[in-house]
Amino acid sequence: MRGSRGFSLIEVLAGLLILSFVITTSLGVFYHRERTHRRAEEMMLVWQVLGNESEVVRRIPWANLGALNGQPFRSDLDLLAGFDEFSSRIEVADAKPMLKDVTLTLTWGDGRTASVSVLRGDTGGSTLW
């Protein structure tokens, strides 16, 4: 029996496996955290853009609302500059007589979407919405 021996191949492999598991987990956490943070930032900015567009939509005369269907946003999207490819779209649907449902949607290149709906009523030309 030897007084002192080195590590066996199995021991070394087991050690490397544990180490690589720890490193992989650490890198995974880092990546996941970065992605979550980036998406949170995106959402924070996207909701501002949607909010701005809904303010604009509120001021469009009732008679012109239908023409918005299928159109991109009217307010500018400077806030989203630098993000991945995205597109904007307005959809107008009749909710009830004298009520229109205006849905504002932002779509990213990877298919994710964020949308908000504004219900507009025919107020007969007054400034109420």
């Binding site: 029996m1 007084g3 002192s4 021996r5 180490l19 490193i23 650490s26 890198l27 880092f30 955290r33 970065e34 943070h37 980036r38 949170a40 930032e41 924070m44 900015l45 501002q48 853009v49 909010g51 701005n52 303010e55 604009v56 509120r58 001021r59 469009i60 005369p61 012109n64 009217r74 307010s75 400077d78 806030l79 007054s126 400034t127 109420l128 919405w129």
Partner: protein
Amino acid sequence: MVARRDRCGFSLLELTVSIAIFGIFLLILTGLATQMARFDRTFRLELMTHPQTMAVLARVQRDVHASVAYPASYGEFSQNPRTLLLTLPGEGEGAITVIYDFSADDEVRRLAFRGETAEPTWIARGTGVYEISSYEMPDERVAVRLRGRDREGRMAVDQIYQPHPRF
């Protein structure tokens, strides 16, 4: 007499090498954590979720919604990209003039005057750098556009507020 062991412990050299390897590993992890923290600070989210920023946005929004006019000037203040003046309807003692002073970076001051009488000034700090502009709505009414930049100069806030319609 001490019996000789079959298996001896680690030698000083082995221990030193092991600790050095572990040290390098720790160093890598610490580096990652530091990078993570630095990375966090580069996000505009930091500004948007700052309680003071949210307080500023909420107050400006509430005041613009309630406003009935944008006076050109009041005392030493006049409308400009770093100053917003609003007239709010007052009860009994006349209208209230509200002034948002964004002239100092990272600080917002809200001054209010009921007639000639000054009301307490509200100050928020750590809020970024703001700029005011007008935004013309499709029906030609004018809204307030508030844009804010973080410490890196990137736009983090861009909000359009308009006075609410009156009955």
